[in-house]
Amino acid sequence: MTTPASPPPAAAVEFVDVRKAFGGKNVLAGASLKVEKGETMVVLGPSGTGKSVLLRHINGLTKPDAGQVFVEGQDIVPLTEEELAPVRLKVSMLFQGGALFDSMNVFDNVSFPMREHTDMTPEEIRHRVAEKLEMVGLPGIRKKMPAELSGGMRKRVALARSIALDPAIILFDEPTTGLDPVNAEKINELIDDLNERLKATFVVVTHDIVSARAISDRVAFLHAGVFEFVGTFDEAARGAHPILSDFFRSCGFPAGTATASIAASAVQALTRDGARGVALGEENP
């Protein structure tokens, strides 16, 4: 008589009460978070609060002590290294330093996942690599070795490698850390642009508020191993959450309810739609 209701569509990534300790220190203490398909979720927090550790749980590089991690509805915690392979083909990761193979040139790096996991012909691979390098704005550097590239270029090549197999979910570990503001801005634009073109889910870990403002659909604030806040960036900047406003203040932005709009606008001023942001500030009533 009754047909079972079809289950609600699974979130792209879901953490359920994830706990992880390193050497007696609780890095994650029951973190729960849901990342919807197609959104860019930015995990914010000061350095050393376990944001990168959190990210490494999504592709099984790190296993939680307790709790569940769902990737497109599948609990990946019990999976062995071999069983994780299909998950890892769906979920790619951009490492903080890029993690390009320094024994290989740019072409071999970007084509690496294709050579490992597809039976594409050399011609198809060459075509695909050119396309990916063009997407990250670096055409014509195929023969260069990673050591010959600047930090920003290395990250973009690494990004090209991480989108090589058109993943459904991309994890970014501090994408703008260690870059000058101009290059950081370029990376932000690139992430925004790719999110639109690839229709993939992005999970970005950062302590860079400017970057969070520029690319996030939602932000999640990690503090003492749990998510203290999840919502849009504007809500975060406006909100009265004491720890969050402390964090904003420590990043050089005035915070608190009265001055929250200044914080938001100050951030906007530093991003692409800066003109509009400044117009909202108190200096220009």
Binding site: E81, L84, R88, M93, F95, G97, F101, D102, E116
Partner: protein, 273 residues
């Protein structure tokens, strides 16, 4: 008084406890190390027969570990052979040592010095190189990147190196044996005025296939030790560039010791066969 006594006893016990604790820790670290190494060995050997086969990488590693070690192992063997010839002639002079030079040089080289010295040289050069390379890949997250791309670091990094060293070290050893015997010949002919034909004849009459086989047989074991210790220390680097340096040193020490210790047991084993 009693309080003082109790305190003394307490501290004496504490010292003992500390000693036992430190000893236990050292022991458990050593066991962890051996356990980890054994686990890696199992996984690496299992990966030898599992697809994908990185033929290109194996050939590259054979070149890196084998061909590029030829210089160091050959020079070592040549001069060892020359020194052996000189020392034999000197120390056995009273017994007509000259007559035995071919035998002594060839036997000690083929059975013992060829495999061990070659392995020590390769252990230093190749083992350290493997740890430095894999170690720096570990600290720059390249090993994690492999895993994140669903590629097994063991299959991609460890197995090709294991296969390469496994086949190259016995070849290097065989060449070292040959070079060492030729070194002995040089000294025999030019210093001790023995004819080449006499030198070779005495070798030919003395040396058996079993001698050569036991020497080369050992080198397969040494090869596995070098490759696996090098890879294991590289994969387990924690920290930054300084930690890579420490791990590299550790590889040279661990590989050398394990070669020398296992040489003893292998020698016993092969003599019993």
């Amino acid at each position: 008084m009693t309080v003082g006594n109790e305190t003394t006893v307490f501290y004496r016990n504490l010292r003992w406890l500390r000693f036992v604790d430190a000893f236990g820790r050292k022991g458990s670290t050593a066991l962890d190390y051996l356990g980890g190494l054994a686990e890696l060995t199992g996984q690496a050997v299992a990966s030898v027969f599992r697809k994908p086969f990185y033929t290109q990488e194996i050939l590259h590693q054979m070149d890196e570990t084998g061909v590029k070690s030829l210089g160091i192992t050959n020079v070592t063997a040549l001069f060892t052979g020359m020194v052996l010839a000189l020392q034999t002639a000197y120390s056995l002079a009273a017994f007509g040592g000259k007559l035995f030079i071919g035998r002594v040089v060839s036997l000690s080289l083929v059975r013992e010095l060829g495999p061990v010295l070659t392995a020590l040289m390769v252990g230093g050069r190749v083992g350290a190189g493997i740890t430095a390379e894999i170690g720096s890949m570990t600290v720059t997250e390249q090993v994690d990147a492999l895993r994140a791309m669903a590629v097994s670091p063991i299959q991609r990094l460890v197995t090709p190196r294991l296969i390469a060293v496994f086949f190259m070290l016995p070849i290097l050893t065989a060449l070292a044996d040959l070079l060492g015997i030729l070194g002995g010949l040089l000294i025999a002919v030019y210093e001790l005025s023995i004819t080449a034909s006499f030198y070779f004849n005495s070798i030919w009459n003395q040396l058996r296939i079993a001698d050569i086989a036991s020497g080369l047989g050992k080198s397969f074991f040494f090869a596995a030790e070098i490759a696996l210790i090098g890879c294991y220390n590289g994969l387990n680097v924690k920290g930054g560039a300084a930690a890579v340096g420490v791990a590299t040193t550790k590889t040279v020490v661990a590989a050398s010791i394990s070669i020398l210790v296992s040489d003893f047991f292998l020698t016993k084993l092969f003599l019993a066969l």
